[in-house]
Symmetry: D2
């Protein structure tokens, strides 16, 4: 029976790039991890050993660094769109049919110091000094197939905790049930979110303000988590997703993965102590894993389930 | 505009379980990491705060441990099939429509010692003592939707290296090309493989010998890697996939993810030394990432691209 | 030849604890990872199999959780001192001669929302909702030997970067030198700092304000990093250490481990582009590793070199 | 009050090197991670910004790669001794007083295949194809101060498990005790071992066979773990240490760090099932951590406690 080469793709992954914009005494930095993946006419590369259609992964890497210089990095999304378009539109003989650019962005904030060169009154930012900030990583994934651009941005490792306003009861009981119902528990999770933009890269279409959009989606996720009185992490998930859709018209679809980072109340009775929801053991594993998509009516969701 | 709850699933992830089979003086162990994920009628859980349809993740965890005792763990695949069928077929009011069980298995081998209780001549295995072996992790993913079972098994973190018999030349040159053509290079990769079985869980269908199948697929992957004179990692990938399909009729489709773990020849000329393919710097990042599927003709591939 | 049992210690490591202080509607949380290690009369435990002198690691764990309830967690340092004193002073027959408590603390900040229960004008903190903040982990190590307390606090994973004001030249050249001198480079490092307090636990001795001291030491490390025009990472290290000693009289000794996280200027000449210190490749490995201690004159340094 | 620069050291860490020895059709590979650390007359580097005494970390890296070519890598230990001697003895003006070389070595085994070029009967090794093997990493640390060489070798991440022959009872009970005594439990640990060689680098002193010594020490550790009927992990630790000293005269001192990787018996009674030491939950944290040194009488132990 014959064998067939199915879906295949390749590229250089995890190109770590720091881009400095040096405006007089005040610098800006962008700190990215860029992964390139190409699809196209690569059958011969697999079957015959001919590399005539192969754009080397080394070249895709060089292109990332060269583009960072030529065009700057306005935002991860805008940079990814430039790269994806280039690989599809400019590779010789049109052998690249589709390009996917995945980017992680690491946040930095300026170090403030009373003794900075500006020497204003009060504490001042130093123009060229930065400290990594936040736990979360910003992500984006651009796909361009020669016609349309698809942008799915997101974040991961945003760890949040409510120390009250969470219950869990009224669930199915079967022969394997031992869980006690809870009327006041800690709810903690490490948010992975991805959201798809309506933007499709048409010639006449303005790009959203990607950085502002990111900041606002992150804010709405946090606020919805904080303000939702929760009867399950699923309910919190849905509240987070709808909050984003309600507030950010540029977003069509939100996918959330919420591991339930269990905090178990420690039994202190053997020591003659009452534990009034004060002392918890924070467990690593096992964890509940709650995943779901919320999207606008009429939109076909595209964010893949992993 | 209204919002819709799209695809959603939940369950307990990463249930770490060690199962001991104690036959007289010789024990057997299975060391698994089991993740459960359920799909079904969970709209209310998300929208109204009612958990009437929610089988708690805690219960899914209990079920894993109880089943390990009741049925033993013949293999990761057989165990996963039992669990998936249970969650769909036995949960009350049929609210679970589909269950996915992912399992990682960690390999152990017996410690051999000259002084074991059996005290045979020569070195002997101790019946209850084990050492973790190998770098790779065995994986499987079972999906059951009430009708059919789908089994995708695999491995990850299998690190291999050819110190010769690898070339790379004849590729596209563009304005961003700097790579020199290579006629003798190290080829190293960390194999992630997933393969789909033809088995679909029909009543009259015998399960493959899962453990033997795993061992043989692993062997064919290694042999194909070792024996292929390579003009690209893509070519090696295709050789590995077809080798498995040629030798294992129970497998329909093979997906491989092969990061090209670059080994750069160190320039020793400044020190008056010639580097005749002897001294390499092993880089972490960036890396080429080559991915592809090989499947039988007529089979529709189902292993997701990630 | 006889064998001797030398230095030995044991205890429960990585007790993960979250302590909630619930004051009306506004909660406080402490998120710690506590490791206990005991030294004492444990020869028999090793040599004869008698556990008569063994305080089980499980008991040391229980004690951590019980103390969190009984005494609260004012600060990691104060909590560690309580625990260390208990294990030495209260364990029966005085078999524990010395106790070491290591604690990691993870920082959280309140989530601010416009819609919080307090409903003040403007954005408000929600009283029970938190987001993990910062990259760095706060650390402390308490040792108590029945007489004196020693406190070494610190931080790790504080990642900082100067995009200019760093040079490196004038170094030794030998036959293995290829490095070009640099007159404007990125200087980036991931700070691990440990500092010893003068506090020794005498009865009449007030404890420093540990939390304030931590905040201030961290601030001085950041400011010294930002404000030092650097000719080597060693020079920056010394500036950071002295800045702390100059400003924090409660600190006697500072140990710094500064991996030089290399940012290599990408050669863009092959693409007809000039790289005016704008585009860097951020490398993982290898890295320079610079370590050093700065201490007050007359003080014998005690922070171990690892 | 004046400040003093105390202990300090620097060098290039984590130089990843793969060295291929190409003998006709059969290659050998060594896969190392080499870290260099130098002590000496580096005050000015810290205090004045003068690098006149600074041998750049980049040069120490170059030296590692050049030496790998010039001298080959007979063993990690022999290679480390060459490097340490070089940095102290050959650096100009004797500014380097002491050098420490730390090396990790990763194990590979040959891939065997029925179809290798040699085409012998039966399965054959392919001369240039390798698969990473084992979980454990071999380690060594060489220190040379201009007079004496000190070699401390070891291993880490060797994970072992006894499914029976382990008890724990008869321990101290206090008000925080809840642990039940155990008469048949799983004992599992992830061995970190370091052992000091008597070898001191005198001119007339032959180096031990480092590779054989490593293999034998590893074997004795495994055998002692497997054959010891254990009343505590401490007792097992002591048995492992003495076993090495009894069998390997070239070793003076053994340090072991043994995390007690807890396997908790799952309570299956709620499900009407008896758990006869068959089903365990393998916990990540907390873990007992047992550490101890065993040394020959008359030897002053030098392996640092971390």
């Amino acid at each position: 029976m014959a064998h067939v080469l199915g879906q295949n793709q390749y590229g250089k992954a995890e190109n770590r790039i720091v881009r400095v914009r040096r405006d007089s005494t005040r610098h800006e930095i962008k700190d990215l991890n860029v992964s390139v993946s190409l699809q196209g006419e690569f059958e011969d590369v697999h079957l015959t050993g001919s590399n005539a259609n192969c754009l080397p992964t080394d070249t895709t890497k060089n292109t990332v660094y060269a583009f960072a210089k030529k065009y700057g990095i306005e935002s991860a999304e805008a940079f990814g769109i430039l790269l994806a378009r280039h690989f599809v539109d400019d590779t010789e003989r049109g052998v690249v049919h589709s390009a996917r650019i995945r980017i992680e962005e690491y946040a930095w904030e300026r170090i403030r110091t009373p003794d900075s060169s500006a020497r204003f009154i009060g504490s001042e930012e130093v123009g060229h000094s930065f400290v990594r900030s936040g736990q979360e990583v910003r992500t984006t994934e651009i796909v361009y197939d020669g016609e349309r651009v698809q942008v799915i941005s997101g974040l991961k490792d945003l760890v949040v905790l409510n120390s009250t306003n969470s219950e869990f009861w009224g669930y199915i009981k079967d022969r394997y049930t031992t869980l006690k119902e809870a009327y006041d528990r800690i709810l903690a999770t490490q948010v992975t979110a991805r959201w798809k933009y309506g933007y499709s890269g048409r010639e006449d279409e303005a790009q959203p303000n990607w950085d502002r959009s990111y900041t606002q989606v992150r804010r709405h996720l946090l606020e919805a988590f904080a303000e939702t009185y929760s009867y399950s992490l699923q309910q919190t998930l849905y509240a987070m997703g709808t909050r984003v859709l309600n507030n950010r018209p540029e977003v069509d679809e939100v996918r959330l993965e919420l591991p339930n980072k269990h905090h178990f109340l420690v039994d202190l009775e053997p020591f003659g102590l009452e534990n009034d929801n004060e002392v918890y053991y924070a467990a690593d594993r096992m964890y509940g894993l709650i995943e779901g998509t919320v999207h606008r009516e009429g939109v076909t969701p595209v964010i893949p389930v992993v």
